[in-house]
């Protein structure tokens, strides 16, 4: 039986790698998840035959509860809420890794200190990823509105982390793996995850979720060594590495180092000192906006998180077709971190059947703005804020942005006069070529379509 289990795990590990490989190209992506899924199924089923196991009833009930709850929530959740669901499921994986470590530590029969150290390491990483992801979920779900910051926060976090390491060290030194020290160790690790995530603002959430995803992978890989489980080692480590790369890509797109996201103070000071912006907000009504777009030659649409919130992607597609029918060239400019995750906008627009060859990323589209007649910004804010280029005082200074302000005309659909997620004033809205179209993203786009059709 052991050999059969090993063969199945080997197969699963291979399917995971091939599946991930396929998931990195649009043509094969769907096959990829099926490959990885069948690997998971094989590995899970064969594990029931692992020698010397008990508690089968408990196991089946636990799988049923966790599986059904996740299946139901995953099916039901709106596309716009995907990022927080990924954070939630990721946190659950971290919790799983932490729980494995806890059981192994309570049992306490380790071959060597090396395995004990690995178990503790996996427990630490898994617990941080668990509590941190839950906070990330709460933030994106809107359960937690503002980043929570207090004095000496980073120092306190550092102390807690150091204490967790010390508690771990003490467990290794004394060999008492099931005592009160273990409880303290887990409590400190969980607290660190919470406190580390609390001060991070929503704009940095994609990077954070990606980082926790990588961390969970690493924790799973490490626990795989403890359990002598090759499938866990390989799948966990592969995800750990892939997730780290993905995190770097994202952080680079935002022109921030991962260290900055974790230790920086994004949007910290501007409660007190407001930047002053020249000019005024100039509203436009739907009819005028419709005329402006209908007689343009080139239109670029810039979607942001607001489009996701307003569920406006289907209306936007309709608008694209109306404009295309008039012979107008329509493109979409996708900032890498528009929305709450990299590729968030791509997913939403794909859902609405916008062909992906109309989507352009930052580098491809930025040179085209000066030749563009109308740019329609829907629900994007920080990623089109020219202050990132011009104002070194601004907290978003240095972040690569879409140079929307260089277009001839800019129409901004926005619900009210509030600021972006980072809490920074947007100089674009006050520019001479910018007009504000106040209203709900979906409703306003619908009215725009009507206005253009009537011309």
């Amino acid at each position: 039986m052991d050999t059969v289990i090993e063969i199945c795990y080997f197969l699963a590990a291979m399917l995971f790698i091939l599946g991930l490989k396929r998931m990195s190209s649009p043509l094969t992506a769907r096959a990829g998840i099926l490959w990885a899924g069948s690997g998971m199924l094989v590995a899970t089923l064969i594990t029931f035959f692992w020698p010397g196991m008990e508690n089968y009833l408990l196991m089946t009930v636990a799988i049923a509860i966790g599986g059904v709850a996740a299946w139901w929530s995953g099916r039901k959740v709106a596309m716009t809420n995907m990022p927080q669901m990924i954070a939630l499921y990721n946190g659950m994986g971290g919790g799983g890794a932490g729980a494995i470590a806890a059981v192994e530590l309570l049992k306490g029969d380790f071959h060597s200190d090396a395995f004990l150290t690995l178990a503790l390491l996996g427990a630490l990483i898994g617990s941080v990823s668990f509590s941190g992801s839950i906070i990330a979920f709460a933030k994106l779900q809107g359960l937690m509105k503002r980043p929570l910051r207090f004095a000496f926060q980073h120092h306190i976090n550092l102390v807690i982390f150091a204490l967790a390491l010390a508690a771990g060290g003490l467990i290794i030194k004394t060999g008492d793996t099931a005592g009160i020290g273990l409880l303290i160790f887990f409590a400190l690790a969980l607290a660190f995850g919470v406190l580390k995530t609390l001060p991070i603002g929503g704009a940095d959430m994609p990077v954070v979720i990606s980082l926790y995803n990588a961390l969970t992978g690493l924790a799973v890989g490490v626990e795989g060594f403890v359990l002598d489980n090759a499938a866990m080692i390989i799948a966990g480590t592969v995800v750990g590495a892939a997730g780290t790369l993905l995190t770097q890509l994202m952080a680079r797109a935002m022109n921030r180092s991962i260290g900055h996201v974790l230790f920086g103070s994004f949007g910290e000071e501007h409660g007190e000192e407001q930047e002053t912006v020249e000019g005024s907000l100039k509203p436009i009504d739907v009819t005028d906006a419709g005329i402006m777009m209908a007689y343009a030659e080139r239109v670029i649409i810039v979607p942001g998180y607001g489009m996701a919130v307003a569920q406006a992607q289907h209306k936007i597609k309709e608008l694209m077709h109306v404009l295309l029918d008039r012979g107008i060239d329509v493109k979409f400019a996708i900032h890498p971190v528009a929305g709450r995750m990299p590729g968030h906008m791509n997913v939403l627009l794909a859902e609405a059947d916008v062909p992906y060859d109309r989507l352009y990323d930052l580098d491809e589209i930025n040179a085209q703005f000066p030749q563009t007649d109308v740019v329609l910004v829907i629900g994007a804010n920080d990623v089109v804020n020219p202050m990132a280029r011009s104002n070194p005082e601004s907290p978003i200074y240095g972040m690569p942005i879409l140079n929307v302000d260089q277009a001839r005309n800019v129409i901004i659909i926005k619900r009210g006069q509030g600021k972006g997620f980072s809490g920074v004033e947007n100089a674009l809205f006050y520019a001479d070529n910018a007009r504000m179209l106040y209203g709900d993203g979906q409703g306003m786009t619908g009215e725009l379509i009507q206005a253009i059709k009537q011309l």
């Binding site: 991930l20 508690n55 996740a70 499938a231 480590t237």
Partner: protein
Amino acid sequence: MIEGFTALYIFMLAAFTGYEVISRVPVILHTPLMSGSNFVHGIVLVGAMVALGHADTTLERVIGFFGVMLSAGNAVGGYVVTERMLEMFKSSKGRDKR
């Protein structure tokens, strides 16, 4: 038992594999890929099952139970969400071909 340098080699090779496998992924697939890799570490489920299977005390069983429950959530939720996202790419591709 995988030990010592063999463990290190496996770790290193798997890490390079993970890095290489997604190094040329287009931005458009970043979210589904993050979701997909989130699903793949749902393999933690098999570890949690083994841990619960060998649990002897009530405390170990309780922790093991939660471990399996959370891990199953990771695996199933990760799959459902990824599948739903990639489903859309299929429809968009199908329409492009026409």
